[in-house]
Symmetry: C2
Amino acid sequence: MALDERKLEVLRAIVEDYVATQEPVGSKALVERHNLRVSPATVRNDMAVLEEEGYIRQPHTSAGRVPTDAGYRLFVDKLSRVKPLTQAERRAIERFLIGAVDLDDVVHRTVRLLAQLTRQVAVVQYPSLSRASVRHFELVPISTTRLMVVMIAETGRVEQRLVDLPGPTLADEVTELRRLINEKLVGKRLVDTPPLVQALVEEAAPSLRPPMTALSTVLLETLVERSEERIALAGTANLARGGLLDFQGSLRPILEALEEEVILLKLFGEVEPSMTRVRIGDENEIEDLRTASIVATGYGPGTMVVGGMGVLGPTRMDYPGNIATVRAVARYVGDLLAQS
Amino acid sequence: MALDERKLEVLRAIVEDYVATQEPVGSKALVERHNLRVSPATVRNDMAVLEEEGYIRQPHTSAGRVPTDAGYRLFVDKLSRVKPLTQAERRAIERFLIGAVDLDDVVHRTVRLLAQLTRQVAVVQYPSLSRASVRHFELVPISTTRLMVVMIAETGRVEQRLVDLPGPTLADEVTELRRLINEKLVGKRLVDTPPLVQALVEEAAPSLRPPMTALSTVLLETLVERSEERIALAGTANLARGGLLDFQGSLRPILEALEEEVILLKLFGEVEPSMTRVRIGDENEIEDLRTASIVATGYGPGTMVVGGMGVLGPTRMDYPGNIATVRAVARYVGDLLAQS
DNA sequence: GACTGGCACTCACTAGTTGGGAGTGCCAGT
DNA sequence: ACTGGCACTCCCAACTAGTGAGTGCCAGTC
């Protein structure tokens, strides 16, 4: 059964009121606050239908209605326009990010900014290397049997790692290894490097074979495994704001989930280009986060996506506002990355 | 007035019971559980004295007694022996830390380990550079006017930073700069380097003066400013364990304080060599942490202290256990650093 | 003088009761 | 199709004992 115009309007009003007041909303209050031009009785009929369709529910008989996860979903998809940011917010974003000195700092500032603007928990994935390309490799001899491998990516991110070589290696040999590696890998996207690393080992002169083999292991680790690993988090204190009504009483599972980087990466790392993804309550695969909603988006220079960011909060959150904020911040950070 | 032997015994019993049960403890239960060889009435008299002296208090008239911050303090200072760890705990520490691949990993594992063993919030400061010494400097040319400076410290920590040079610089000049810097700084403790960096600029050949000046700024930043910056955190979910009785209801201020790195550094960074510091409730300078206690200690290779670590939890925590755990972990990590 | 048993008292906590009110569902009327 | 009216439900807050753990004090004992 299709919901007519007014029923949708009623649903929107319920969501908005409930988000604002955190209290079940009844038919009378609804008519008063939003100027629906009908009587409470009519609204009640509409509500009955909305309830039957699963968009709202009553916490107890004869209490007001509360949106269900499906209700929020419909609201987000059909009933809300993304709120444009205020001038003040735009300026806050700029001012907050403008002084960043390096990549770490950008991420750090971004995550705090998001937490502050949305008053939710904010998560930012460090720019992933996998979709970026290699700018330079450096091998630094620490001792005759030890090298430090440093990789610099286009995004400005630097990764380093120590390697123990199988035997003493001369300075000239290190130079040659460096040359070979750079020749083969510079400019390539990280996702494409594994076969190239393999080729490096196979094509190496016999004398360079052992050290190159040792290096290849570490290169692969650096290039692939660690490439999407890091996550920055801020605003956990915001979880403790809404009394304890949100999250049905216990913050524990939420806090636990937030400490699992793997989980966060799953939530915020899997983003399609220029899409804002909203996961509401039950839609969440992670059991512990069934009482929470997530707004996530990708970011990166231009149209490229090098990482995800977003916020997490109670299902009863200001979706339009948060979506707008997350998008705006992501875009701004993308521009910042493009410049450097 | 001096407290006699038995009164102290009573205080100890109160603290232990209260920590275990989280409930005010009365005279009768006390006599039953600990075999004090006196009657409840006698204990009551002792309690009255302890209360007068400010070591315990009654939440309400005619409820049991609860230790005050001062009571915990006395308990920690005089009445408790550090609990030796169980064999299982020792093995857990080893197993947990043994697979660590690099410094970041060590810190990361350590903090999770601490959180798990103590069931509190754990904090570990990354090994500070300031008391460690320089192992090697590397300059990596990115372009003719851009260098990457990489510093490797004795602790294994690596810092890198980009520098824009005032003008094009030849490869030979870079080599010379690298030689000069290493010659002057390798082996020195980071705290001692600033004057040496100054000297480097002054003693440089005229042609190397401009790039060396640019470098010196970045060197100082790397060596000094960023040297104590980072902190790892785990176990915040443990805050939400004790119902909401701990922290008098609101986690908010605690979570907020935990997000301020500056605060954490103050708490866990200011550690004297081989001392375990315990801050109980009110003793805390930070307003928001007046309902919490902190157990912190320094760690480092041998007798050197390169950073702090510890745990934070409700004043009603298992001090002897936590102190033992924090010490053991700190010691183990210290050994690990000494080996590398 | 130190300890004990006894006793009256306090007061948080629990369970049961009650009234009020917000909100609903339904129905007859426009 | 919408509305006003009305009976009904049931959460919530306030009140009322009743209970019991715990105390302070005191007189008595070793």
